[in-house]
């Protein structure tokens, strides 16, 4: 009997350890009175963590390591929604799974913060462009200005839900916005030394329009038919012809998605290739957005400097 009990204990322990390993997300109960705000994507974790500081807990509902482009809701992630006071969403196509998760959770009427409510959205790029601009580019978080607009909206809405901390949220949001603006100013100062601010650009993933518009740049061509899907040989040949015709100077690829077809394009066209971060990898961290965006801005400045005549 005692052996059976021990076996059960070992089994329960092993299951618990396996579950903890599979869900590397902080699930510590917040102290009494401290709100718990859910997020779906890495940049939104950074935004909300910087807005709330120690006044509330930020809970990612998707464990780190999942690609948000291909995420399928899991029961344990849906269960996590039941302990939230509100959830902050991208809401324009990058976390559309969240609505179904909330509906299936213990809190189907959970307050939702639409971060992009005040962002001037751009139409989807590449083959995702359809319905006369009604399908929008969901990557508004890959931009300093649009992140500042989202941070202001999130701080305002969380302040409404948590009035005792509203003033702190507003002050934190403004301080965070100032730091983000400084990132862009630092990048532009480097660019001023480089002396050229025009570039004909192609991107592998149609995610970077918001960022490029901050520098007055427009994407001439998007290569990838959909995120993570490689183009067919015919599409690749057409892309290479298009890039030659448009006299594209720079291709922006994506970190963490090495691919043979990107190398083919580089080899065939001789165009310089640089990689941006999509900010969807690694552990959730308050400073992740600043670190990754600083790197993206440095990459953009380097590309513009190297393309200068």
């Amino acid at each position: 009997m005692s052996i059976l009990l021990n076996r059960r204990l070992i089994l329960a322990g092993a299951l618990g350890a396996a579950t903890a390993a599979a869900v590397p997300v902080r699930a510590v109960a917040a102290p009494a009175g401290r709100r718990r705000f859910g997020v779906t994507l890495h940049p939104y974790y950074s935004y909300v963590a910087n807005i709330v500081g120690d006044a509330a807990e930020v809970v990612p509902i998707i464990p780190a390591g999942f690609n948000p482009h291909a995420y399928e809701p899991r029961p344990e992630d849906i269960q996590r929604i039941g302990g939230l006071d509100a959830i902050v969403l991208n809401g324009i196509g990058h976390d559309d799974f969240a609505g179904r998760m909330i509906a299936a959770s213990a809190k189907p009427s959970l307050p939702v913060v639409e971060s992009n409510a005040d962002v001037p959205l751009l139409p989807a790029a590449g083959t995702a462009a359809r319905a006369a601009g009604k399908v929008v580019n969901p990557h508004s978080f890959l931009s300093i200005t649009n992140s500042i607009l989202q941070v202001a909206t999130i701080a305002r809405e969380l302040g409404r839900l948590d009035p005792d901390n509203a003033a702190a949220y507003a002050a934190n949001a403004r301080a965070y916005a100032r730091r983000l603006r400084q990132l862009r100013a630092d990048a532009l100062a480097k660019l001023a030394r480089a002396g050229n601010a025009s570039l004909r650009v192609a991107t592998i993933h149609g995610a970077y329009d918001y960022l490029l518009r901050e520098f007055g740049l427009e994407v001439s061509a998007v290569v990838e038919p959909a995120h993570g899907i490689e183009p067919s040989p015919a599409q690749l040949a057409e892309t290479i012809a298009t890039m030659r015709k448009l006299d594209v100077q720079v291709i922006f690829s994506e970190l963490n998605f090495p691919s043979a077809y990107v190398e083919t394009i580089r080899r065939e066209t001789g165009i310089r290739l640089y990689a941006f971060s999509h900010i969807s990898h690694g552990d959730y961290a308050p400073d992740l957005f600043e670190r990754e965006m600083a790197r993206n801005l440095d990459t953009l400045v380097l590309a513009m400097a190297e393309a200068a005549p």
Partner: protein, 183 residues
């Protein structure tokens, strides 16, 4: 003598039933598609409005987003300082699009001035390259910000009120929120 008529081998009747069933399925599908069709295109915007998603150049889209973000910061500076900051002060804070950086040059090289509107303030940016981005006006009152555009190297009328701006050919930029299509 017993006669029995034996029908020749064939599946005419079954074929008829299958065709009938296929017809019913097609008809109900056509009916469902007809009833659930997406609405026609939205009503066109009024003549004095322009859509940020479809009506602006890439440079104007970037400037419009920057001005929206700047509106929040200027409102906070006004509350703290009791007066509207000048464009030079905003440039010193590295606040786009007032900061004179390579981005400003690439997006039309606007020169910014401060003007009063009666119950609020306005920042007028005259473009040096209207083919890249038109001239812009950011108006702020106690309730929020609105942004106007004219594709000319032209200052707005003073004061930049709705009627005067519209009469001079300026258009107010509007943006709409569109949720994800698979939500």
């Amino acid at each position: 003598m017993h006669h029995q008529i034996v029908r020749r081998a064939g599946a005419e009747r079954e074929t008829l039933w299958v065709l009938l069933a296929a017809g019913v399925i097609l008809a109900s599908a056509a009916l469902a598609v007809g009833l659930r069709a997406a609405p026609d295109a939205d009503a066109p915007l009024a003549a004095h409005l322009i859509d940020s998603r479809t009506g602006l150049t890439a440079a104007e889209q970037g400037l419009y987003a920057d001005l929206k973000a700047a509106g929040e910061e200027i409102a906070a500076l006004r509350r703290a300082g009791g007066r509207a900051p000048t464009p030079e002060e905003l440039a010193a804070e590295a606040l786009p699009p007032f900061a004179a950086d390579p981005s400003a040059a690439a997006r039309g090289g606007h020169s910014w001035t401060l003007a009063g509107t009666g119950d609020g303030v306005a920042y007028a940016g005259v473009s040096a390259a209207p083919e890249l981005a038109g001239s812009l006006v950011l108006r702020l009152d106690g309730h929020g910000a609105d942004i106007w555009l004219k594709r000319a190297a032209e200052a707005p009328p003073a004061p930049p009120e709705d009627a005067a701006l519209t009469a001079a050919g300026w258009k107010r930029i509007v943006s709409t929120f569109t949720a994800g299509v698979t939500r």
